[in-house]
């Protein structure tokens, strides 16, 4: 391999790891907002559990990304000093919590995606990623059981919960296209065996989601054209506010240790 190709591959690897890390980090951040305000005390604990798992994944992945980057930065430097243009999470993760239905719909869509993703990543040519994926997969299985259970209860519960769930699904569906839209980094990573081809993950994800929606008596929304590019650092307006909240203390006291 030529030097340029190696450089490109390493750049793709770093971007890929950041995509995974940022999606887990941003989603953990959203779930953290619920603690103390959930519909029942038991759900405060349940949502906090998912948040902690996702935060743990983010830390492992950011730690790896920092090593790959080789600039001596830490997981915290990456989390707290990058601006939104450098965040590579999927746009779906940064969408606001809204009501509980919105949070659960967002969670199911991403849980089902991470399930396929981590399962495939266990066979990654990148051993570190494979290890992280194996551990994360166990967590994701539980997350999906939790979120899918709630999707069913809300979709097939009362008229109000059904209406709210359908509204949430209609609002969030357009962000799912991005999950499987491969850009050059995705393709380079897949070709090198680091990542699965997204096109291979889509059918299984789609089948699982369609079945869950059917059981929840929810109508899958129509397909929308792909426009969202969070994975490439082009985000919705929401990420800016999320980062301002998350990063301000680190940025207000540059160099301070906490």
């Amino acid at each position: 391999m030529t030097e340029a190709l190696v450089r490109d591959l390493e750049a793709a690897r770093l971007r890929y790891v950041l995509q995974l890390a940022d999606t887990s980090l941003v989603l953990a951040q959203r779930l953290g907002e619920w603690v103390g305000h959930a519909p029942a005390l038991e759900e405060d604990l349940g949502l906090a559990n998912v948040a902690l798992d996702l935060l743990g994944q983010a830390r492992l992945l950011l730690g790896y990304a920092a090593e790959l980057e080789g600039r001596g930065r830490s997981e915290d430097d990456l989390a707290f000093s990058r601006d939104q243009g450098e965040f590579l999470n999927v746009t779906l993760a940064e969408q606001p919590n809204g009501d509980f239905a919105c949070t659960i719909v967002r969670q199911v869509l991403i849980d089902a995606f991470q399930l396929e993703l981590y399962d495939s990543l266990q066979r990654s040519s990148d051993h570190r990623l494979a290890e992280i994926a194996a551990k994360s997969l166990k967590e994701t299985r539980y997350h999906l059981a939790y979120s899918a259970g709630w999707l069913l209860r809300l979709g097939d519960g009362t008229a109000e919960s059904h209406a709210r769930s359908q509204a949430a699904l209609d609002a969030l569906w357009r962000f799912t296209v991005e999950l499987f839209a491969a850009d050059d980094s995705d393709t380079a990573a897949a070709d090198a065996g680091i990542a699965p081809h997204l096109s291979e993950l889509e059918p299984r994800w789609s089948e699982r989601i369609q079945e869950l929606l059917r059981q929840a008596t929810l109508m899958p929304p129509p397909h929308t054209p792909y426009r969202w590019q969070g994975k490439r650092g082009e985000h919705s307006e929401h990420l800016g506010y999320l980062l301002a909240d998350m990063q301000f203390l680190y940025r207000a006291y540059p160099g301070a240790r906490w």
């Binding site: 951040q29 953290g32 907002e33 603690v35 103390g36 305000h37 959930a38 519909p39 029942a40 005390l41 038991e42 759900e43 405060d44 604990l45 906090a48 559990n49 948040a51 902690l52 935060l55 743990g56 983010a58 830390r59 950011l62 997981e75 915290d76 989390a79 707290f80 009501d99 509980f100 069913l152 209860r153 809300l154 097939d156 519960g157 009362t158 109000e160 919960s161 709210r164 909240d245 998350m246 301000f248 203390l249 680190y250 006291y253 160099g255 301070a256 240790r257 906490w258």
Partner: protein, 332 residues
């Protein structure tokens, strides 16, 4: 610590009308004196039951309201490790609330009723949670001082006469020690940090010191319930004893941090080994208890909002379960 408002409760003990009741009462007290545990379906004086319901439920309410001042900082924690630890801590507090609601429910009150009392303001929670957390240092101060005070109060409760409450306390105490350590660790990092961070820590100590001392409640001479609670071994030490112990163990910790306790009268008495400290301004405590503290409204509003906005969710879950259970419903 959790019996605020009990003196105003005004409940009379059921008059022992029949000889049988007097015999039962004597047998009950004998079991207490022999350090036996009372379990849910055992005979107990009505006043014992009501005192425990009140105390345990207010303890539970304190835990869940306590999730709010610290929960404030989850999204803003200055490092990922601190964020994870804080989520785990606040999650623990929710769990503690649950253990305690479970214990109270064994006495014949439901979670629904207890939460209704909290939202209506007829049940109290520890006044300390009506103070704001304006800075990150407040999160550290709460862990160090508030959890520290709670631990001192909770360890004797592990030997409380009522089994479910004692067992819940054992569980809680095991989990609580990490809470205090994470708080102290935050303060340590700040005190070893930049001048701005040290100032942040000092100011937080100044905000939380006196409210933490007030957590132990007024001097026992002021409370007519203390004597009865001691007789029933619900309470093991007086408020003043516990407060003194808190001061004695905490002042050296503040000294280690290089922070100054905001009490000009604080002085170690070489003869007794205890720290003498200044007079507490109980009028502030009374204000907060009456609802005029800095955050009473906000805390109450947050709890009510969570319960109200969660109603459709809980109803949906119940409706779904009913559909599954109905004979003519869809197969599971």
């Amino acid at each position: 610590m959790y019996t605020q408002g009990l003196d105003q409760h005004g409940r009379q003990e059921a008059q022992p009308a029949a000889a049988e009741s007097a015999v039962l009462g004597a047998r009950f007290q004998a079991r207490i004196d022999a350090e036996e545990r009372i379990e849910p379906k055992d005979w107990m004086p009505e006043a014992y039951r009501q005192t425990l319901i009140r105390q345990i439920s207010q303890h539970a309410h304190s835990e869940i309201v306590g999730m709010l001042p610290e929960g404030n900082w989850i999204t803003r924690a200055p490092s990922l490790r601190r964020k994870a630890v804080l989520i785990a801590k606040v999650q623990d507090e929710g769990g503690h609330g649950m253990y305690l609601y479970s214990a109270a429910e064994t006495l014949g009150i439901s979670r629904e009723q207890m939460l209704a009392q909290l939202n209506a303001g007829t049940a109290k929670y520890s006044s300390i949670f009506n103070y704001p957390t304006p800075t990150w240092a407040d999160v550290g101060a709460i862990g160090w001082l508030v959890d520290g005070a709670a631990i001192i109060n909770q360890i004797p409760l592990c030997r409380c006469s009522y089994g479910p409450y004692a067992r819940a306390m054992v569980r809680i105490c095991k989990e609580e020690s990490f809470h205090q350590r994470q708080g102290f660790e935050i303060m340590l990092a700040l005190s070893r940090g930049t001048p701005a961070q040290r100032r942040m820590a000092q100011e937080a100590l100044e905000r939380w010191w006196w409210p933490a001392l007030m957590m132990f409640g007024p001097s026992d001479a002021e409370s007519k319930h203390t004597a009865q609670s001691m007789r029933w071994k619900i309470k093991r030490f007086s408020n003043d004893e516990l407060r003194q112990h808190f001061v004695d163990v905490t002042v050296p910790q503040a000294e280690y941090l290089g922070l100054e306790v905001p009490d000009p009268e604080l002085q170690r008495d070489a003869a007794s080994g205890h720290y003498r400290f200044g007079a507490i301004d109980w009028s502030e405590f009374q204000d907060v208890l009456r609802g005029s503290g800095p955050c009473n409204r906000e805390r109450a509003a947050a709890r009510r909002r969570a319960d109200e906005e969660g109603r459709w969710v809980r109803e949906a879950a119940a409706a779904h379960a009913a559909k599954r259970a109905a004979p003519s419903g869809a197969p599971p």
